[in-house]
């Protein structure tokens, strides 16, 4: 049975979709079967970031409504055999998702894939709650600024109360992924420091992704940053985060500071 990861944040524009695609591609490069599911019905973007926008025939709403079978809707990545995308519908809205439908789709995906990555929409409404509902692990994407941190805090509260795991009295495993981190601005005090964010959110750190033009470039060419330029700093950060998700204990390096020996070793291996 695969692991279900929800990538969530509360606030929009912090990098959920970028991170979902990048983590998906990074895990798939470990030869593990990965499905990335877009829950942002009505505002789908994941297909663009993964370069599959012209290959979408059926989507998650079709699968939920029974118009299409799951294998028909899944799109295999052209570069990685083990990476699949289940796109969202662009012409519908979040109400098209039903709780039973989502449960059925997730259960089926878990049978075939090692990882099911749910890209949550922004907000705390139906789309976001359904994306987190069946998750085993949550990746909370946060930018180092106060409004993003507060929204993430709200989402962590919901992960601890509104998910199936929480309702069964279990603890949801939560990880913080700090994105768009600029060490110079953090040093000047224009941004929250890593320690401040960790102190407020008090969940373990999965990784720090530096602010970089490489992320934008990758999006524009329709490739996850971990496929477009594997040697770039954000790609390295996502590779490390993926290894931590898979259970490896490697220390987190703060971008701008000297990179640890593990980062160097891994950098060579991935290239």
């Amino acid at each position: 049975m695969g692991k279900v990861i929800v990538v969530t944040s509360g606030k929009g524009g912090v990098g959920k979709t970028t991170s979902s695609a990048a983590l998906g591609a990074a895990l798939a490069q470990r030869n593990e079967k990965v499905a990335v599911v877009d829950f942002d019905v009505g505002l789908r973007n994941l297909d663009l970031v993964m370069g599959a926008e012209r290959r979408v025939v059926y989507d998650i709403v079709n699968v939920i409504n029974g118009d299409a079978k799951l294998p028909q809707a899944l799109i295999r990545d052209k570069r990685l055999d083990t990476l699949f995308l289940l796109p969202a519908s662009q012409t519908r809205d979040k109400d098209a998702l039903t709780e039973e439908g989502v449960e059925r789709v997730i259960a089926e995906l878990k049978k075939y894939f090692d990882w099911v990555i749910c890209d949550s929409p922004a907000g705390i409404e139906k789309g976001a709650t359904l994306a987190m509902r069946h998750a085993d692990v949550a990746v909370v994407v946060t930018n180092p600024e106060v409004s993003s941190v507060r929204d993430s805090d709200r989402i962590i509260g919901m992960l601890d109360s509104k998910t199936l795991k929480a309702e069964n009295g279990e603890r949801m495993e939560k990880h913080l992924l700090l994105t768009r981190y600029d060490s110079n601005r953090a040093e000047r005090g224009d941004m929250l420091k890593v320690d401040d964010v960790l102190e407020i959110l008090s969940i373990p750190l999965l990784g720090i992704v530096p602010e970089s033009m490489d992320v934008l470039k990758a999006s524009n060419v329709g490739a996850p940053v971990t496929l477009a330029d594997t040697r770039s700093a954000p790609a390295q950060a996502y590779f490390e985060a993926a290894r931590r998700l898979a259970g490896e204990a490697i220390p987190v390096t703060i971008p701008g500071e000297k990179r640890g020996i593990f980062g160097k070793l891994f950098g060579r291996k991935a290239a």
Binding site: V146, D153, R154, G157, D160, E199, S202
Partner: protein
């Protein structure tokens, strides 16, 4: 000659209140004693370890009769700690002291356990005799507490009108904690904390680090901008003095 006080320390005399059981016998005394025996047989050990006051204000008896009554009670293992409502002429120095100024409390219920005579073993009966003491219950209610072992997240609200709240973790911006008693936060208070919400002026708020948006005690509140900026970031205790919230930096 004046006495020279060599030790400057004075003896501290404190007041304390206990809840006593009051027995009010009526005439004729022998019949009352029979009813007392009956009560004692149904609830063995009820008078053991319990302060008992004898109220004789409704009883017109002589000194000798009162002495006999005390002896009769002693025979039944009921020890009298004081006598209420007795005339000075009724009392002798050997008798328990006269007591005044008692405040009425709720009736003490003695439940019958006739159905199961074997279970009336003394020790068990003492344990199981349910006693309804309104005052004691109120005291217990106030000391009730709720302990939360994780941070209180933005958007969450913890409401506990029954007593104190202790949070081992931080209270996030946009979260609120409302307690009938005091609030103890072993972390940073960034959200709102409202103590003494059911009208408890003695309630306090403690936090390891004050960054609060709003604090309130017994309905009197202070916004972040009204707070002394020197308190920010410190371990602080907040209490109410009259209609003013007082803050002390701890440590």
């Amino acid at each position: 000659m004046t006495k020279v006080l060599t030790d400057a320390r004075s003896i501290r005399i404190k007041g304390r209140s206990f809840l006593a059981v009051v027995l009010s016998p009526d005439l004729p005394l022998d019949q009352w004693l029979v009813r007392l025996d009956d009560l004692a047989s149904r609830s063995a050990g009820f008078f053991l370890d319990r302060p008992v006051v004898l109220d004789v204000s409704e009883l017109s008896i002589k000194k000798a009769e009162l002495k006999q009554l005390i002896d009769d009670l002693a025979e039944r293992k009921v020890r009298i700690m004081g006598i209420e409502g007795a005339r000075p002429s009724q009392l002798t120095p050997e008798m328990p002291p006269a007591m005044k100024g008692g405040k009425p409390a709720a009736d003490v219920e003695v439940t019958a356990r006739e159905s199961d005579p074997e279970a009336e073993a003394e020790s068990e009966a003492v344990e199981q005799t349910p006693i309804k003491q309104v005052e004691a219950q109120q005291i217990r209610a106030i000391t009730q507490s709720l302990v939360i072992d994780e941070p209180v997240r933005s958007g969450q609200s913890i409401i506990f009108p029954e007593g104190d709240i202790t949070i081992v973790g931080s209270v996030a911006s946009g979260a609120e904690v409302i307690a009938g008693g005091s609030i103890h936060i072993y972390g940073t208070l960034r959200g709102r904390a409202m103590a003494g919400s059911i009208g408890n002026t003695n309630a306090r708020i403690f936090c390891r680090r004050l960054e609060a948006e709003l604090i309130a005690i017994d309905g009197i509140y202070k916004m972040a901008e009204d707070m002394d900026s020197s308190l920010r970031g410190h371990a602080v205790q907040l209490s109410l003095e009259g209609d003013t919230i007082m803050a002390d930096i701890l440590f």
